[in-house]
């Protein structure tokens, strides 16, 4: 009996230190029946992409606390493209200025959620895009 589960990698690139938002999202996705691989803080884009490939996830969620990590988000999108993993759903969350958001979406991000987004909306988005 085939039993598919959505696998998601949640990572937080960059050097700043707290990850409450990322953990809340990780738990919500778990409670929605997904298998969530949580990698912790301070991961480089290369490490994030390598983990995503080994874990064979369908979704990568990146969290950031400030616009300063824009270039790291871009780097992840670039690496995925380079390695031929464009089918992975790429989402981001955090405080990201509008102009950067546009750019990220052009670079391959499927959605950038703003800080107030409810977790159920994120769950729904992922389920729609992966199963639909």
């Amino acid at each position: 009996m085939a039993e598919n589960r959505i696998r998601v990698l949640i990572a937080k690139p960059g050097l700043d230190g707290h990850d409450r938002g990322a953990k809340v999202v990780a738990q919500a996705l778990r409670d929605a029946g997904m298998e969530v691989i949580y990698t912790g803080l301070r991961r480089t884009p290369e490490q994030i992409v390598s983990a995503a490939i080994q874990e064979d996830v369908q979704v990568i969620g990146l969290s950031s606390l400030s616009g300063a990590h824009n270039h790291l988000f871009q780097k992840v999108a670039g690496l995925l493209e380079e390695k031929g993993y464009t089918d992975i759903l790429l989402i981001g969350g955090g405080i990201i200025p509008d102009k950067d958001r546009k750019k990220l979406e052009e670079m391959g991000f499927d959605c950038i959620f703003s800080p107030g987004t409810s977790t159920s909306k994120i769950v729904e988005f992922i389920q729609d895009r992966v199963n639909g």
Binding site: N4, G33, S50
Partner: protein, 317 residues
């Protein structure tokens, strides 16, 4: 052969991580073609030592794994890590967080980390874990480290699975006589009392040591060592690595190695038979007309579940 399966087999043979990762998913999902895949990679398998780490949540298994794998990769080995965490019985989801404590291994060439949820197995190991091991061995890794949370069934499963098992404990979590009695002594080839920087480590180690000595038989050549360590500071981890090597040499000297091979073969065969049973018998029955009829009869107190089970799968037992 299905094209997808052929590509995966070829990719694994060529050492491609992406192909291995996809194959692991196919096997975990029991997706279409997974038996064929396992059959095709079987001749590619090169057996390698399997080390197990088990213990209660948060005792330091991942911190230890991080060190062991790091050292082995330095020696030029290709390492696989399978980190198993429990599936939530309510949602079916799982939070797989072992990578957080394996930061030195992140992105490191020569290390392949796969996080697995226990899925169908109630508190135990995923039924697909034996197959994951086969895939890694076909991928030509030199060693496999399996980390499992020690709850219920998984503790006994890990013995059938791993050549050498380290049971990790820490002071102050009720790891006292009672826990030790609950089967832990039987499964450890090595015992690690981690977090020796916390109070109570000395007492716990002493207690363990005396319990082990009292049950080790006269003339038995392997008495499980008890190591006190502070994994977060790298303290005594080199010793643990050496103890793993010692135990392996011990296995290689006697007949235990063949016994382990047989146990693993048996476990894998049982798991596959169970899957066949699910697919061929239970699957078609679920929700069928007969199923509904049986449920009605059982809840109506007409015929017993035992009666129906025999009717559904006839034959003598």
């Amino acid at each position: 052969m299905v094209k997808k399966v052929a590509e995966l087999v070829q990719g694994i043979g060529e050492g491609k991580e992406g192909a291995l990762a996809r194959a692991l998913t196919l096997v975990e999902n029991r997706g279409s073609g997974y038996r064929e895949l396992l059959d095709e990679i079987f001749p590619l398998i090169t057996p390698c030592p399997i080390w197990g780490l088990t213990g209660a949540p948060g005792v330091g298994k991942s911190t230890i794994t991080n060190f062991l794998a790091g050292e082995l990769v330095e020696k030029g080995e290709k390492i696989a890590i399978i980190a198993v965490d429990p599936t939530s019985p309510f949602s079916g989801g799982a939070l797989l967080g072992d990578r957080v404590r394996m930061m030195d291994l992140a992105g490191k060439p020569g290390v392949f980390i796969r996080s697995m949820a226990s899925r169908g197995a109630l508190g135990g190991l995923s039924p697909a874990i034996m197959d994951a091991i086969a895939l890694f061995q076909a991928f030509q890794v030199d060693r496999i480290i399996v980390e499992t949370v020690g709850v219920g069934q998984s503790e006994t499963d890990i013995v059938a699975l791993a050549d050498s098992v380290t049971v990790v404990m820490m002071p102050g979590t009720g790891d006292d006589v009672q826990t030790i009695k609950a089967g832990l002594l039987e499964i450890g080839d090595i015992f690690a009392v981690n977090k020796a920087d916390l109070e109570g480590a000395e007492t716990l180690a002493g207690l363990l040591q005396s319990m082990i000595s009292s049950r080790t038989e006269e003339g038995q050549s392997h008495q499980p060592p008890v190591l006190k360590m502070i994994a977060s500071q790298g303290n005594q981890l080199e010793q643990l690595l050496q103890e793993f090597f010692h135990h392996q040499e011990y296995l290689n000297r006697g007949e235990l190695k063949e016994k382990k091979e047989r146990m693993r073969g048996e476990m894998a065969l049982k798991m596959h038979l169970q899957a066949r049973f699910q697919d061929l018998f239970l699957g078609p029955l679920l929700g069928s007309e007969e199923w509904e009829q049986a449920l009605k009869s059982i809840t109506g107190r007409e015929k017993s579940p035992a009666y129906w089970a025999e009717k559904m799968i006839p034959g003598r037992d």
